[in-house]
């Protein structure tokens, strides 16, 4: 037994997690980047990406997951998402009004189409995913006073 098997769940769970966690994250990125072409979007994609990190934390324990995605990164990404969404909306003022679709629409059914909608999806997914993972970390690290004394 090497040292990394000390914490977290059993070897079976860890092996399966190592195989699937990348696929889950890739699926989340697909859902989010094709949000304007097929069903999906920023909210769903962000939640799936956050769930891949939750999966990692459940299987390997909090130290391994926090090494991959530290606490300070969650607040950074959440704030980045909020500012990005708002600045996309404000950039609409270059053409006239708030939330104007100022990039060209492109060809339907193509990945690069629909103007600002994919960019908004990315911003929302950053916000939703980072926010969800931040709440999960906070609940994992939650200790009550009575537990400290033991």
């Amino acid at each position: 037994m090497s040292k990394e098997h000390d914490k977290g769940m059993s070897v079976i769970v860890k092996t399966i997690t190592r195989l699937t966690v990348g696929l889950i994250m890739l699926y989340g990125i697909y859902i989010l980047s094709h949000g304007h072409v097929s069903p999906g979007g920023g909210f769903a994609g962000g939640v799936i990406i956050a769930l891949s990190f939750v999966h990692l934390m459940l299987a390997y324990g909090k130290e391994a997951a926090l090494k991959k995605f530290p606490k300070s990164a969650t607040s950074f990404f959440e704030s980045t998402g909020a500012i990005m969404f708002l600045s996309i909306a404000l950039l609409g003022f270059t053409g006239g009004y708030f939330f104007l679709n100022f990039i060209s629409k492109g060809e339907p059914f193509k990945l690069f189409s629909a103007g600002i909608i994919p960019l908004c999806n990315i911003a929302i997914s950053l916000k939703v995913g980072a926010g969800l993972f931040a709440i999960f970390i906070a609940l994992v690290l939650l200790r009550f006073e009575s537990e400290n004394k033991e």
Partner: protein
């Protein structure tokens, strides 16, 4: 346009009454009046779906607020005015019935949509926004203000949860806590 300004004035007056009045229940009723006028404003600004949502949320909030204030203070003085109260109740019910009959006459036949706005989204969504997923086209283009509000709500919720749950907020005074094991 003039009716919009009248409604906005009513909303501002209602909000001032809600802040200034001493009785809590009257304040809650004034807040409810502001929400009702706000839903009519949404209707005038051609957003009937937002108006319906506003009405439902307003009723829910009003019920919760009344439930919260009901135990605090309730200056009931219904005795001695039963005739006045009955006349007002009956006349309001009659008014409501007349308005309801008039409204139901104008409804479209069964199976036809009341809100024509959805049909416009389906017809012109692709050419106007370029997105083939109509849900994305609605939430990020036609109703992007709603999504901005939702994002703000989520941000506030996350900040609220972290402020309650993290160690720094819950530590006793004059006690230092190591940073490594807390948010």
């Amino acid at each position: 346009m003039i009716e919009l300004y009248i409604l906005l004035t009513i909303m501002i007056i209602g909000a001032i009454i809600a802040i200034e009045v001493k009785d809590l229940l009257s304040s809650v009723v004034a807040v409810g009046a502001v929400g009702l006028v706000l839903s009519i404003v949404f209707l005038i600004l051609k957003a009937p779906d937002v108006a319906i949502t506003q009405l439902v949320v307003e009723i829910l909030c009003l019920i919760i607020l009344i439930q919260a204030t009901l135990k605090k203070d309730l200056p009931f003085s219904t005795s001695g005015r039963w005739f006045f109260n009955t006349v007002i109740t009956v006349s309001f019910m009659a008014l409501l019935l007349i308005v309801a009959v008039k409204c139901f006459n104008d409804l479209p036949a069964f199976g036809y949509p009341i809100m024509r706005v959805a049909g416009e989204y389906l017809k012109e969504g692709l050419t106007a926004t370029g997105a083939t997923n109509i849900v994305s086209a609605v939430i990020l283009d036609y109703r992007a203000y709603d999504t901005l509000g939702e994002a703000t709500i989520l941000f506030t919720a996350v900040i609220g949860v972290l402020a309650i749950v993290r160690r720094v907020g819950r530590k006793p005074k004059g006690k230092n806590i190591k940073d490594e094991d807390s948010f």
